[in-house]
């Protein structure tokens, strides 16, 4: 076991896969000579050269489409889109080509491409650099979406994504690349579908994914120490598909659910999880499920305004207390 940073975990996974399989390539803006905005490809250009670690022009739809086309013929591209805000430009190729080609060719073709990209609100990056796009990607049939919340998952999910024959979108977070965590030294893979219990509890389930897992864990600590409420935290690292069985199992145990999401509420992870709870275990509920989401506005620049947008630990604690009739 080693303590490594999130970016190092991604780098290690790509390095191992490139070493194993000459058809694995990486591409993106400033990922080669410069080593990547968040260092996820650091050193790979020197090791594998410009044919396999490609610095692309600023042509997101073009180079993503090119990667998808290459994947039709057996190349295994890992595309880095510098920020999810720029992935909007590549949506045509991701949705209309990668996600649909297996189906519309009657299974003749497949697009085993990995697209990695950081989203989220960071520090005052403004409306056009603060998108949270997981809700957009997870609504498209044919595209897998995973979102690691720690270095261990970052490595294991990227390894599996590269080997998987479906297109996989990996939703990372701008603020998490320097996060440290334990990663096994031996090679391992993570299931692309599923969820993890990040904290065991019995009184309420807090559902989070990516950065909001950490928000949920922080709130769970407060609930335990100050209110004697033991919250279970479920890490929904797979957003498409969501882990129906895992969601239902936890709600059957705790009978209460709060979903915490960094994105705006409409058409999001929270609405999906609530629908699943309704469908799978409605009669197990002791309280109406609650979602805590970002305000439904473009992200403002000013620090004081930006802070007002996201749900806070205190909001989570209050919501849980209210569910327990203690609000």
């Amino acid at each position: 076991m080693s303590q490594i940073m999130f970016w190092e975990a991604l780098r290690r996974a790509q390095d191992e896969e490139m070493e194993r399989d000459p058809m694995v390539i990486c591409m993106g803006e400033d990922i080669g000579v410069a080593g990547g905005t968040y260092k996820a490809t650091n050193g790979l250009y020197d090791k594998y050269g410009p044919e396999r670690v490609m610095d692309t022009p600023i042509s997101e739809n073009g180079f993503t489409g090119l990667a998808i086309g290459a994947s039709f013929l057996g190349v295994r591209p890992v595309v880095e889109i510098m920020s999810v805000n720029f992935a909007w430009l590549a949506m045509d190729q991701i949705f209309n080509s990668a996600a649909k080609v297996r189906y519309m060719s009657g299974g003749q073709l497949e697009a085993p491409v990995v697209i990695r990209s950081p989203g989220g609100t960071a520090h005052q990056l403004g409306a056009q650099h603060s998108a949270r796009m997981e809700k957009v990607f997870m609504g498209i049939a044919g595209l897998r979406v995973v979102t690691p919340s720690n270095p261990r998952q970052a490595y294991g999910l990227l390894k599996s994504a590269i080997r998987c024959n479906d297109p996989v979108f990996i939703n990372e977070h701008e603020l998490m690349y320097n996060m440290k965590g334990d990663v096994p030294d031996d090679e391992y893979f993570m299931s692309l579908e599923g969820s993890e219990v990040a904290r065991d509890g019995r009184d309420v389930t807090l559902f989070g994914y990516n950065i909001s897992v950490h928000w949920a864990l922080a709130a769970a600590e407060v609930l335990s120490k100050q209110h004697a409420i033991e919250a279970e935290v479920i890490d929904l690292y797979s957003l498409a598909p969501l882990d129906r069985a895992g969601i239902a199992a936890s709600v059957r145990k705790t009978h209460r659910a709060v979903i915490i999401e960094e994105a705006e509420a409409p058409v999001g992870v929270g609405s999906e999880v609530m629908a699943i709870i309704n469908e799978e275990c409605f009669f197990e509920l002791d309280a109406a499920p609650v979602r805590l989401s970002a305000l439904n506005i473009p992200i403002p620049y000013a620090h004081v305004l930006e802070k007002a947008v996201m749900p806070k630990t205190d909001d989570i604690v209050k919501a849980v207390l209210k569910m327990h009739g203690r609000g």
Partner: protein, 334 residues
């Protein structure tokens, strides 16, 4: 160009340099957050082009490196700096930040953070101008690397087909972040790419503001006369990193030296000094005055301005009281 105009341009460009350098300091002091892209080295581009146009009247749009373009269009530097400080008095009311300076009153139609985004927007504004029958034009400033977006090609084509009054200005500083132009772009001379759309185009020295002005005059006159779009490429160089998080490590020292010696401020200053129109002491006085103004007026204003009110965080998302959001019961006119 008249001597008085040259002197004014020198002052404006020196102001621009000092303004941006002060932004750098304020960023280090954590008064400014987010991404910050500065303009030192490229001053002659915005100043030369807009001097040849009608700043404040012609519509201007650009990317994230936008402070100086806004100021040359007539924006109050205080409101620009206050925006960077995230204050309610900022030109975008603290909602936008460095990459999103907007000042519609002065027809500065905004800074946009997505590379290539403004190309079609500029063509669209030109379409509107054409429909209104005004003799305004739209001017779009973007970098060299932006020309690899599909929007560049799509927009130039439409602008040419519909003879739209738009001037595309390419500020070619040889890099898109850390990638040198020859590593990302097949055709290095950007003006040649306009040929594909049968658009008149020219490449000139972007460090000499008089050269830029002359070339821009020709371009602006052409566009304003209704003949259609024009593409102007200005060869320039940024003296700092791409943004505050960039160290410039990928650039050769020799290259930096060559371009450093072609400082647009020094070129114009020396020309005026050699012609006996001003002395180096005059220049120093000008500098002192500018620095004092920035400190005593602009920074002071920005620091003393109030933060936006968090209770108003949801303002400006929707049109206020739009009658068509809730139409009367019988569907009649609201």
């Amino acid at each position: 160009m008249e001597v008085s105009v040259k002197k004014r341009l020198l002052r404006e460009m020196l102001f621009a340099r000092r303004f941006e350098e002060r932004c750098y300091e304020a960023y280090v002091e954590r008064k400014i957050g987010g991404f910050l892209h500065l303009y030192p080295g490229e001053e002659a581009c915005a100043h030369g082009v807009l001097e040849a146009a009608r700043p404040g009247k012609d519509y201007v749009i650009t990317g994230y490196r936008d402070h100086i373009h806004a100021i040359k269009c007539g924006s109050d530097p205080k409101a620009v700096m206050a925006e960077l400080f995230g204050k309610e008095t900022g030109c975008s009311k603290g909602r936008g930040g460095s990459m999103h300076i907007f000042d519609v009153e002065h027809r500065f139609m905004g800074g946009y953070a997505l590379v290539g985004g403004p190309f079609p927007l500029a063509a669209g504004m030109a379409k509107a101008i054409q429909m209104k029958g005004d003799d305004d034009i739209a001017i779009c400033f973007l970098g060299d690397a932006a020309n690899n977006q599909g929007t560049f090609h799509e927009s130039l084509n439409m602008a040419a087909v519909w003879k739209l009054p738009v001037l595309y200005v390419c500020e070619n500083n040889l890099y898109g972040i850390g990638t040198r132009i020859d590593r990302s772009t097949a055709v290095i001379d950007q003006y040649k790419r306009a040929c594909g759309y049968d658009m008149p185009a020219e490449q000139v020295d972007g460090q000499d503001v008089e050269v830029v002005y002359e070339a821009a005059k020709k371009a602006v006159d052409y566009v304003r006369s209704g003949k259609g779009p024009y593409f102007l490429e200005l060869m320039t160089y940024r003296y700092r990193g791409h943004s505050m998080s960039d160290s410039n490590a990928y650039r050769q020292k020799d290259e930096e030296r060559v371009w450093g010696a072609r400082d647009p401020l020094v070129i114009l200053r020396d020309r005026l000094v050699e012609a006996g129109e001003m002395t180096l002491d005059d220049f120093k006085d000008m500098d002192t005055e500018i620095l004092e103004n920035i400190e005593n007026e602009i920074i002071k204003f920005s620091e003393e301005s109030p933060d936006p009110n968090p209770a108003e965080v949801e303002k400006y998302v929707w049109a206020e009281n739009d009658p068509y959001v809730h139409v009367g019961a019988n569907g009649g006119a609201a």
